[in-house]
């Protein structure tokens, strides 16, 4: 029991921290100003505590806690879970810092944002840990409901509300597909935990031929549900609207934490449930489906991203493109060994810090009434406000994959895993796509450093906030660390990979 509690400590720390924050917000008194600044600091501390606890458990080794397996299969505490717990807490913590500066600046200073953020993260952590269809669904919904509310946080804005409703409707649709797939699987095997289902499929479902048809239908539905959550083309259309309508800290949270949790879920389901040789066959199983989705995702989103006029929307499409790159790594897990999984994990970590940093820098570049929305707004920013412009350029370069930033090694390892698994064509297309992507990242820099604002046109004026600056500094340090010492983090990622086969 004690061990089980200790093993669940990362989730518990964040959950109880969130409760504490709610109490403080409800009963605390303030002299002046909104609650955001206090709560942002509180949430950040809670998330960092969660990250530190997860990291310490990772370092100590979950196998040291014999009672930890008592929560399995509902919650599996292994290094994979703990790695994702750390990444999720990091991404959420950075969003909390951004919110601390963003909400007061844009007159959204209401306390409920932070509990939503915290409990959504709890859901994400449950999702990453789940080894059972039921706990997976609970985690998924806990995470999603918080995010729906955060997207619609700007109640006064039509666009924000519309985005939230769209996201909610389509999210429910996707959840229904996933649930239906799960129900079929339960119907065939009579089990809900991944390990038993996987074993049943591996053993040929007791020879009942008719059930195989059902299983194929279930796989189609589950794949569609997973593809929605990682916002892969053509399940992506909600993404730009939701990302643009949401307040930027929530956008960052969705792009970073929700996506990481979705990939964790994807790896667990694909390797746990559909890890048999027939499902993983390159000729007939899910790998070609995901490869096609990856190709579509990268290409379509990069082509559209290049034509955007809004920087935030461009970043939304860019995050879809990054999901496509990660999918290449996911397809590469068909090769035995931990390289491909490690590349996915490393990519998610490097993508988390780069994207969160980019959104933080975008927040920093604008202030109320003088927001940095379109490319035009940023014209000449490099001369007027070199620090903000430099921060944004730095993270965009990491997203573009310039050495020696984290983004370079993320792509490098994915490409290596792709080549290692024999996905030569897909890998080459990935590299070509990252060339296309460089165009629209560099375009931001062209506007900031080489264009002058048109006379009379609105131009962005950077805001001042210690919180946002802290988020930027933290991300920048991590981006550089991952870029200069990639091997250490890769080692961590390799140790975190799921064992299968």
């Amino acid at each position: 029991m004690k061990d089980a509690l200790l093993a669940l400590a990362p989730i518990l720390v964040v959950a109880f921290g969130g409760l504490g924050l709610m109490m403080t917000e409800a009963f605390g008194t303030r002299k002046k100003g909104g609650p955001a600044s206090d709560l942002a600091l509180g949430s950040f501390i809670v998330f960092m505590a969660g990250a530190v606890v997860s990291a310490s458990l990772w370092a100590a080794g979950p196998e040291q806690l014999p009672g930890a397996s008592s929560t399995a299969p509902w919650l599996i505490v292994d290094r994979f879970t703990l790695f994702f717990d750390t990444v999720l807490c990091l991404g959420a913590g950075l969003s909390a810092l951004m919110a601390g500066g963003y909400l007061p600046e844009h007159r959204l200073d209401r306390g409920e944002f932070f509990p939503l953020l915290v409990f959504s993260t709890v859901g994400a952590m449950i999702l990453a840990a789940s080894g059972d269809l039921l706990s997976l669904f609970i985690g998924l919904e806990t995470m999603s409901i918080g995010v729906y509310a955060m997207v619609g946080f700007r109640r006064g804005s039509l666009r924000s509300t519309e985005a939230a409703v769209k996201y909610f409707l389509l999210g429910s649709f996707a959840a229904a597909l996933l649930l239906y797939g799960g129900a079929l699987i339960y119907g065939i095997t009579g089990k809900t935990d991944f390990a038993s289902i996987g074993a049943a499929i591996k053993n040929g479902l007791g020879g009942r031929q008719a059930d195989f048809g059902m299983l194929l239908v279930a796989m189609v539905l589950v794949l569609a549900g997973l593809a929605f959550k990682v916002s892969s083309v053509p399940f992506h259309m909600w993404t730009p609207d939701a990302y643009e309508g949401a307040p930027t800290p929530a956008t960052s949270y969705m792009a970073v934490a929700v996506k990481s949790a979705a990939f964790a879920m994807m790896l667990r389901v694909l390797l746990g449930v559909f890890g048999d040789s027939a499902s993983m066959s390159w000729g007939t199983g899910w790998p070609p489906v995901l490869a096609a989705l990856a190709l579509l995702t990268m290409t379509v989103s990069n082509l559209i991203a290049g034509r955007q006029e809004s920087v935030k929307r461009m970043l939304a499409y860019s995050s879809i493109a990054h999901a496509g790159y990660v999918l290449v790594g996911v397809v590469a897990v068909i090769k035995p060994g931990s390289d491909a999984q490690a590349s996915v994990l490393f990519y998610l970590l490097s993508y988390t810090v780069s994207t969160a940093g980019a959104f933080a820098a975008l927040i920093l570049c604008g202030s109320r009434g003088r927001e940095a929305v379109s490319f035009e707004d940023l014209a000449g920013l490099g001369k007027r406000h070199p620090v903000a412009a430099f921060a944004l350029s730095f993270f965009l370069l990491s997203l573009a994959g310039m050495p020696p930033t984290a983004g370079f090694f993320g792509k490098f390892y994915i490409a290596r895993a792709g080549i290692g698994a024999g996905l030569n064509v897909l890998t080459v297309l990935l590299l070509l796509n990252s060339v296309i992507a460089a165009y629209y990242y560099l375009r931001v820099m062209v506007f900031m450093y080489m264009r002058e604002p048109a006379p009379g046109a609105p131009s962005a004026i950077p805001m001042r906030s210690g919180y946002v600056t802290a988020a930027i500094v933290l991300s920048a340090v991590l981006v550089v660390l991952l870029g200069v010492w990639p091997s250490t983090s890769l080692k961590v990622a390799i140790d975190s990979a799921l064992t299968f086969r």
Partner: protein, 832 residues
């Protein structure tokens, strides 16, 4: 000393961190805060950084000398592993790359040269650059250069060396174009950068090959395992590449790995050390401030190529061919550059061509297997050429005070008689001139003599069969070229000396609008110009003369550390462990024994002839023979003065080719790309964008419809049967057996047939199918799959059994090629 050795054990020699850090801090502080620090502060920072680094280098060097010698052939080596950089996949295993630094006798000496001469030149620059507004920028770059050069020298593996290699290239570019407002100067910087990049490509290729074949880039590990490199590799035809039969030679073209690696490395050296044919950037690099020319383009950076060859000597000696190429290119460059130096009137240009020529001598040394001698010439050259450049700077400094014209203050035709005005500069210039001309008992005499003697007497041997070995006359030919170059060197150096320091001062008359007046068709006669009376040229301040004096002392006596004729070989013994592996491949040629003394007299004669001729021509006859020569053969003189028109040749051929290519590309771009493709693409993208925009309406129904389409697409794939199979062809070559394994699928049933035979009536669970294929023949195998929904699909395979003579390519493809999957099995490669 013991305390130090306890503090810094040889495996974790973190003293190197301090040595590296000081110049980096200097560069950072000067670069970022330099403007606010003021000139005093910048000066203090720069000198402290490099001076401190030099003192620490002395300590490290003392420890290296005092350290107990390694057993047997291994050199003493102090290593500092900073951190694990990253890991890449090699040919057989993962290759870790560390950020690691080390010193051994070779890099120890080079490190002292870099920081020692670096310090002197920093000191010199504090006075030379006094009035420049970019004072802080200059010292930031200079400090950064020292840091990069130290990274290059101290790097424990080729990857770290490459970082330094690129770093010095960058600093060189920044410093050549230091006065970037002048377009000519900034384009000189670009030229240097591009020429260097061509070379760097070779270095990158070499690194890739070493990672693949040797599995490491560490020098020490490479040296231990150097013998394992020595196999032959097939270059053409490339394995696995499908080629038309006429492209396949009867005998595959093969080369040994050390040859390939060494030649690729040498391409890098050619670029960095300005050898034929990439030397063209170095003369233009003289556009930078003179201290930069002294430090980067004479004493340190340009010798990086020789350092690299010496560092990887164990690879080079395994390939007599590569060694011959090194020595040959060196000898040709030595003579070629010397001839150009004859006709130059710009003092710095003479020194620049002289540097190229001397670098050629260093390559003769290392290319003849005399690594110690070749590298010793690096050392002595750093002293005398550094000193010559600084003297030139001192002269230019003085001339500039009189003439106030940049180009003419470097023109030797305007100088003359300066020995009366600038006694210290004159004395040090004379000493260095004696050294470079090879006056007996000076440092240059010993080093050049040793290089030429070794070129004459050594031969590279190899135990491996089938490798090209240089013929016996090759060394003598190199020696002959070296002698010719040496005579030229003595002549043109003393020509420069006499023109600059003897006779009467000719700088009283200058020509305004000089560029229009001479430009391309200048000749040696005086131009009409307005007379100018002013201050006489004066000696430079102590910050400039002190470095001159120190370097001159070294130029005079520095040879005594390795003077083989006097049996002083301290340096050779010190370096011996570094080159121990390499020296096993170098033997004395038959018949060269006992030639040392005769050749010594040849060396002395070279000096006497060259210097005497210059004295007669320029002092006794006051330049009359030179003028007579010019008027007798104006064409030859013009072409030599125009540097054999190599720049123009490059302009016409390579650059012209690229220009033409560029113009063609522009035309293509305009007509084909813009006119057809761009419009078509734009059209498609617009249609595409319109459709997408149509879809991205904001209507949630459309979004949901897209998801439904996506799900339907996945279902279309997953619910349909797919007949694919993996082929196990490992036994195909030996006994013709081929095993098919059908891709597994949920609820799949299979049936197989060979050739045109009918399919079995029933589907079964047999996913594996074995068949026999005849030699050079194809076989058709059909697979039909039925899935759980009862739908079926069929695929046909037509593998061919290749027998190593490319017979499968000659079999005409079957008519139904579009529906078949031909499988070709390439001949098995020899095991690595």
């Amino acid at each position: 000393m013991e305390q130090l050795q306890l503090q810094f054990p040889s495996s974790d020699f973190s003293l190197l961190a301090l040595i590296l850090l000081l110049p980096l801090v200097g560069a950072f502080v000067n670069g970022v805060f330099g403007k606010r620090l003021g000139n005093q502060g910048v000066r203090a920072m720069a000198l402290t950084a490099v001076g401190g680094s030099f003192l620490l280098c002395l300590v490290a060097f003392a420890m290296l000398v005092a350290a107990p010698h390694g057993h047997g052939h291994t050199a003493t080596r102090f290593t500092w592993n900073a951190w694990r950089w990253f890991t890449i996949d090699g040919g057989t295993s993962a290759v870790p790359l560390d950020v690691a630094f080390s010193i051994d006798p070779l890099s120890g000496v080079m490190m002292l040269v870099v920081t020692g001469i670096g310090f002197l030149i920093h000191l010199y620059s504090t006075a030379y650059m006094k009035a420049d507004p970019g004072y802080y920028r200059f010292f930031a770059y200079l400090n950064l250069f020292i840091f990069s050069m130290l990274v290059l020298v101290l790097g424990d593996n080729l990857a770290v060396l490459f970082v330094g290699w690129e770093g010095v290239g960058l600093c060189s570019y920044l410093l050549i174009g230091f006065w970037f407002n002048d377009e000519k100067k900034s384009s000189a910087g670009k030229k240097a950068f591009i020429a260097n990049r061509i070379g760097d490509f070779g270095l990158l290729v070499a690194m890739a090959m070493l990672v693949y074949y040797a599995g490491t880039l560490r020098f020490s590990t490479l040296e231990e395992s150097h013998a394992s490199l020595g196999q032959m590799r097939q270059l053409w035809p490339i394995a696995g590449l499908e080629l038309p039969s006429w492209l396949i030679p009867t005998e595959p073209i093969r080369a040994s790995v050390p040859t390939l690696v060494a030649l690729a490395l040498f391409v890098g050296c050619i670029g960095k050390s300005a050898q034929l044919p990439l030397y063209v950037w170095l003369p233009d690099a003289m556009a930078g401030p003179t201290p930069v020319s002294a430090l980067i383009h004479a004493a340190t950076m340009v010798t990086a190529g020789i350092y690299l060859v010496a560092r990887t000597s164990f690879i080079f000696v395994q390939s007599p061919f590569a060694m011959a190429v090194v020595a040959g290119i060196g000898a040709l460059t030595a003579v070629f550059a010397a001839t150009i130096a004859f006709a130059q009137t710009d003092l710095k240009k003479v020194l620049a061509y002289s540097t190229i020529s001397q670098l050629g001598y260093m390559f003769i040394g290392v290319g003849s297997g005399a690594f110690a001698a070749g590298f010793f010439h690096v050392l002595t050259h750093a002293f005398f050429k550094g000193c010559l450049f600084l003297c030139a700077g001192s002269v230019i400094h003085a001339m500039h005070h009189v003439i106030h014209d940049e180009e003419q203050s470097q023109d030797m035709r305007k100088m003359g008689g300066l020995r009366k005005h600038m006694p210290i500069t004159h004395a040090t210039f004379l000493i260095s001139c004696l050294a470079i001309a090879g006056c007996p008992m000076t440092s240059g005499f010993f080093s050049k003599d040793e290089v030429l003697f070794k070129a004459f007497s050594s031969q590279i041997i190899t135990a491996q069969k089938g490798l090209w070995v240089a013929p016996a006359w090759y060394g003598q030919a190199i020696y002959a070229l070296g002698v010719i170059g040496a005579v030229c060197t003595a002549f043109y150096m003393f020509r420069a000396y006499f023109l600059t320091f003897w006779g009467e001062f000719r700088g009283w008359t200058i020509v305004k609008q000089a560029k229009k007046a001479h430009g391309h068709h200048a000749h040696d006669a005086h131009h009409e110009g307005e007379p100018l009376r002013g201050q006489a040229p004066h000696e430079s301040p102590w910050q400039m003369t002190l470095p001159l004096a120190v370097l001159a002392v070294f130029a005079l006596f520095g040879g005594l550390v390795y003077a083989e004729p006097l049996h002083l070989t301290a340096l050779e013994r010190f370096w011996h462990p570094v080159f121990a592996t390499a020296s096993t491949h170098v033997v004395e040629r038959a018949g060269a024994h006992g030639m040392m003394l005769p050749l010594l007299f040849v060396g002395a004669a070279i000096f006497a002839v060259g210097t005497g001729a210059a004295y007669v021509v320029y002092v006794v006859k006051n330049g009359q023979p030179a003028a007579a020569f010019v008027s007798a053969m104006p064409g030859l003189h013009r072409i030599v003065r125009d540097k054999w028109r190599i720049d123009e040749l490059y302009q016409a051929t390579i650059l012209g080719f690229f220009d033409a290519l560029g113009e063609t590309a522009v035309a293509m771009d305009k007509w084909l790309i813009d006119g057809v493709i761009a419009r078509a693409t734009a059209g498609i993208v617009q249609v595409f964008g319109a459709i997408l925009r149509l879809l991205q309406t904001g209507r949630v129904q459309v979004y949901a419809a897209s998801m439904v389409l996506g799900t339907a697409g996945i279902a279309w794939f997953a619910l349909a049967p797919h007949a694919t199979a993996e082929l196990d062809s490992s036994k195909l070559r030996s006994n013709g057996e081929l095993i098919f394994t059908a891709a597994p699928g949920h609820g799949y049933a299979y049936r197989w047939a060979e050739g045109d035979a009918a399919m079995p009536s029933e589907f079964g669970s047999k996913a594996v199918f074995t068949t026999q294929v005849d030699r050079c023949a194809t076989k058709t195998v059909r697979l039909e799959v039925k899935n759980v929904f009862g739908s079926t699909t069929e695929t046909k395979f037509t593998p061919c059994r290749e027998m190593g003579n490319n017979c499968c390519a000659r079999i005409a493809p079957s008519p139904q090629a579009s529906t078949t999957q031909p499988v070709k099995v390439a001949p098995v490669e020899g095991s690595r």
